[in-house]
Symmetry: C2
Amino acid sequence: MHIEKEKEKNLKFYNLKPIISPRHIAIIGASNNPNKIGNVIIKNYLSVGFTGKLYPINLTSDNIMNIKAYKSILDVKGEIDLAVIAIKAEGVPDVLEECGKAHVKGVVVVSSGFAEVGNIELQDKLVSIAKKYNMPIIGPNCLGIMDPLSRNDTLFLPTFKIERPSIGGVSFLVQSGAIGSTILDLISTEGFGLAKFISYGNAAVVDEVDLLNYLADDKQTKVIVLYIEGINRGKEFIEVAKRVSKKKPVIVLKGGVTDAGATAAFSHTASLTGSHIAYEAAFKQVGFIIAHDFDDMLDYAKIFDTQALSTGDRIAVITNGGGAGVLTTDAIYLNNMQLAELSKKVKAKLRKQMPSIVNIRMPLDIGGDADDKRYKDALDAVTNDPNVDSIIVITLFQTPGADEKVADTIIEYGTQYKKPLIVISMGGSYTQAHKAIIEEEGVPVYESPTAAARSLSALIKYARYKNE
Amino acid sequence: MHIEKEKEKNLKFYNLKPIISPRHIAIIGASNNPNKIGNVIIKNYLSVGFTGKLYPINLTSDNIMNIKAYKSILDVKGEIDLAVIAIKAEGVPDVLEECGKAHVKGVVVVSSGFAEVGNIELQDKLVSIAKKYNMPIIGPNCLGIMDPLSRNDTLFLPTFKIERPSIGGVSFLVQSGAIGSTILDLISTEGFGLAKFISYGNAAVVDEVDLLNYLADDKQTKVIVLYIEGINRGKEFIEVAKRVSKKKPVIVLKGGVTDAGATAAFSHTASLTGSHIAYEAAFKQVGFIIAHDFDDMLDYAKIFDTQALSTGDRIAVITNGGGAGVLTTDAIYLNNMQLAELSKKVKAKLRKQMPSIVNIRMPLDIGGDADDKRYKDALDAVTNDPNVDSIIVITLFQTPGADEKVADTIIEYGTQYKKPLIVISMGGSYTQAHKAIIEEEGVPVYESPTAAARSLSALIKYARYKNE
């Protein structure tokens, strides 16, 4: 432990705050031509209402989107936190040199055409300029950064294709741009909030080690989600990962867990993914939460973003559908948890409140005709019972009594108590509308017993790791 | 084999066709009072445009929803195929006797209050009346039947809560009403077509053995989906299951696979679920496709409903996102399939067609800027290559080139060739709109690599079973 602390002291990190949450930005390659990436980027800044200064840099025009433009970043008088570079690859080293001379605090290079197409020499030039000026670079060949709080948005994606998410506590670190844009789009639809989104591409200078380290101390970030295909600095990664994991949950989805997948990953990002078993062991050792697919990744992020940690595995299940209660019970035990056994006092009270047909045992099937009153009594019982650690509420909104009052009752108990509470609801537009209302208030809704149980199990596992 | 055939001959089955696809229906308990189930049911028949004769039976009113009503089914002159009974449990035996005397061909008892609440004696009365008149009864305590083709619809569910699905090839057999209504709602949203939906409740007379046997010979039914918690007639079930499974795929989701889940199942439907291992072994033996959750169940149904069977496991993957290709490759190998190795000729042709940056190997990453032309070339190659058994097409609609023309190209190749072709697309409203277009034409779209690979693997497994 002592040795590790020593090691950690020796790790040096760039100051990434000016890149991620900049006040003043230069856009090199900003353009009035709507077919240019530099046009999409400056329009994004204008549309999200970026409040700092924007300096378009363009060789031929002195006015870009009605903002005064400069021929070179060296012509700009004011302080610049971030330079976004969106020009052809060949021109990048020269403008990077200028960025260094202009004392820019950091750069995002969205341009592609570097190591990913075999142009290693050109990428090496970037690395040496970064070192020369001690200037952090994200990219090249990346989407860059979206930070809804500072309204930093280097993404060059058409907004009609990808909805922008709301502000929240989940940060995403994604090497691949395509995966990144898909994730962004998915989380916008799922309606949970984004802290920082960083697609870091070739990771020539700033890599996942630096970014994880940054997010560990970022107060807005409650949960970190990481998609990786390989890690270059293994030792440093483990060191930083341990530190981060004791502070906040890190969910990791790794591409290339089979031999064929690893080969495909090498062809994709030139990542040497190494042995899957070694990775899995390393992730477990540092307390990372391993997701096996996009579904898992977003399901887990949702529970960690909204629910308190809990080490107990005694789960209360309330349901208005018998079969769904059976499937959820299966899922609970298959994920190494157990049904709670209600205390005698709580049972006696419920016996008086519930219709005689209701069996006072777990899973608590409160009947296909259950209304908000019955949900309230059941929720009151389980939230106050010391024998219950977490709660799964199943509401099949297809049944007669399940309506917006039931949703309100779930929200009331899901937000006022510290016990983790999650919901299972499956169905069409009526269900989806209620799901949106419940999730809006910070109570996660899952569309299958398996997804709910897996997520709750991940929460408990991490809570235990953190408590060790 | 010889002995089994003998056995099968000895199994007797009710003629269920008049219940499932009736021409003329009596509704006992039909009512003008909108709070009565008998009102919802007759309104449903009117709203779906049932074309046969409807005979409302009501003790006090001679006009129900502007249709002539009768005091007793014995007063009806015409032939009656199906009587739907929606009155209080106590009154059911008497009207059932009348149904028998009136030579009704079958009955659906939606009323509850029988064995499921311990009223076993009352349920026994139903069974003896059914035997006396050799009259099949579905229920009691069930939602009953939805057959969009004959417009039979005994379901008493409000339409604003549950959308009605379109006509298609998938039939659902569900004991539980709540699970049934949830499934109905889900498949309406998913947009794949329904053949028959049967929720059979307490299974006092007609059970899953009878219904499976019926669906085996139902021409409209291409795929059978079964949710069960337990089986009472094990031997007969196995016999019928074997016969069905050689004719068409049966997907089974079983509730109560853990000890606790089994206990919950007993409390729910009084099903003695028995050993999970024994069930799983039995299901495998008869070639059933085992689903582990709702997701699985619907994912599998979708591929079996739309794609040709194929025993080969050499999968071609076309993708416009590298990371998604990596994850899909992992999922293929984790589900015991392999990447196809393209033939030399096809590779050479692709090399000429694709940009130099595209690596001509599986997974075939055709680039983040891939448009319909590039998809067409790639699809043409893999559909015509004898080294390819099935195709997974990944389209991240977030990328610039992916649009409705790409969707049209996928549909073209997904519908004109016999090789199974499925799509992976994840994302928000733009993606969802394209997903709907593609699925409308009969090409299944999955929202994760895992779901796609699991479904394709299930298809191959079943194809091999059938070929044995």
